[in-house]
């Protein structure tokens, strides 16, 4: 299919349209917003569903097949925050702690962006390795820890490391992802029983969630005025660079075109669930407006709307 046609398909998917509805709602100052509890509940559902899906596939996949992707995932999880940090310090001229805080987000992964990529590929009929969602669980944490270390290497004493580690490893989102993977892997075929709840309605639930994400993202748009061009430039450039690197690495790791697309999207995406909480605690002096606005209000919509088709085009080009 033509890249342009793919972009169109992506833009008219219910998920992206839902996100757009949320943005519109926020811009017209509507009172449309999911109840707090429903938003949290949907997050739990999405994370768990992704984990279970990945776990079932992980259980099937031969170790040989997944070892390379797993290593590459961990490698990028450790390396990407470093190059993001360097760019933010050098080009962006951000303070060490702000640079590290932002790097933690861009080194980690956005589960919703990952999911949107999966539904995009399903819609356009491109297959991808089922165990990819298990990789998400392994990409989420390392970058956050590395980035915090970068900020604290001068004064490591001041950080309560074990507390920080607990925060990220046992935090809601990571525990649900890993827990889901474990459930899926252990239950194996028995996981079929929960398919009508965790698989079939998944995209609809994601659409509902994305409406709320649109509202949240749009409410942050205001901060853009104050946040400066350098932040916006990074928030648009980083996903493209990281996406390209991710695509290249995924192809090296022997992933299919679909898998490469997903992996590129993972690397290109910026966390806004696990990272913000951990960073807020570990680097309290960092300015949340910077890392939340860039990841939530710029990079997330960018990936959702134009990034994913671009990474897919790169993946197809690499496999051509």
């Amino acid at each position: 299919m033509e890249t342009f046609e793919l972009a169109r398909l992506n833009l008219t998917s219910p998920m992206v349209l839902g996100f757009a509805l949320g943005i519109v709602a926020a811009l017209v100052k509507s009172d449309l917003k999911l109840p707090e509890a429903l938003h949290a509940g949907l997050s739990v559902y999405l994370l768990l569903a992704i984990g279970i899906k990945g776990g079932v596939e992980l259980g099937k996949a031969p170790l040989a097949e997944i070892s390379a992707p797993l290593l590459v995932t961990l490698g990028i999880g450790l390396a990407s925050p470093i190059w993001c940090y360097a760019a933010l310090r050098g080009l962006g001229r951000f303070s060490a702690v702000d640079a590290a805080a932002i790097a933690a987000h861009y080194g980690s992964v956005s589960v919703v962006t990952f999911t949107a990529c999966g539904t995009f590929l399903d819609a356009v009929g491109v297959a991808y390795e089922g165990f990819m969602s298990a990789l998400v669980a392994f990409l989420e944490v390392p970058a956050i820890v590395v980035a915090i270390f970068l900020a604290r290497r001068s004064t490591p004493s001041t950080t309560r490391w074990n507390e920080t580690l607990r925060e990220v490893v046992f935090g809601k989102s990571n525990l649900l992802l890993l827990g889901g993977v474990a459930i899926g892997a252990l239950a194996g075929p028995a996981a079929e029983q929960v398919k009508p709840f965790f698989v079939d309605p998944f995209r609809g639930a994601l659409t509902l969630f994305l409406i709320d994400m649109g509202v949240i993202a749009a409410r942050r748009l205001g901060d853009l005025r104050t946040s400066g061009v350098r932040l916006v430039a990074f928030a648009l450039g980083a996903p493209l660079v990281n996406g390209a690197i991710g695509a290249w690495a995924g192809e090296l790791a022997g992933l299919s075109v679909g898998g490469t697309t997903v992996f590129a999207t993972m690397v290109a995406s910026a966390s806004y669930i696990a990272a913000p909480v951990a960073v807020r605690i570990a680097l309290p002096e960092a300015n949340p407006a910077l890392y939340l606005t860039s990841s939530l209000a710029v990079t997330f919509p960018f990936n959702l709307i134009v990034g994913i088709p671009i990474y897919h085009a790169i993946a197809r080009w690499l496999h051509a």
Partner: protein, 111 residues
């Protein structure tokens, strides 16, 4: 007016205590509870809330907005709590704290 069930009960003995109220971003919930316990509070009540102040930003939308933590304590404990709050959280976090006098039923058990 009086309960059909009840003869007038005798007046209740009360104690004047401090009610310390802390409003802060939800991500601090567990830490603030630990802090007040650590300062000698015997109990606490926590409410979910949202709000705006000098800093507008929350650590994560999914964490919910703010929490309001209330504790009934002796005057000395109240002072320690406020001092610890200022030292540990006021610089970098969205926190508001204030104190009131309240007349507590059976207040002795909170001291």
């Amino acid at each position: 007016m009086r309960s059909p069930a009840g003869s007038t009960p005798d007046p209740v003995q009360t104690v004047v205590l401090k009610r310390v109220t802390i409003v802060a971003e939800a991500v601090l919930e567990q830490r603030l509870i630990a802090l007040i316990r650590d300062c000698g509070a015997k109990g606490w009540t926590l409410l979910d809330c949202r709000g705006e102040g000098s800093r507008g930003v929350r650590a994560s939308e999914w964490e919910g907005a703010n929490v309001k933590l209330e504790t009934l304590v002796a005057s000395a404990v109240a002072d320690t709590i406020l001092a610890r709050l200022v030292r540990d959280y006021f610089e970098h976090f969205a926190v508001v704290a204030y104190v009131q006098d309240v007349r507590v039923v059976r207040g002795d058990k909170y001291i």
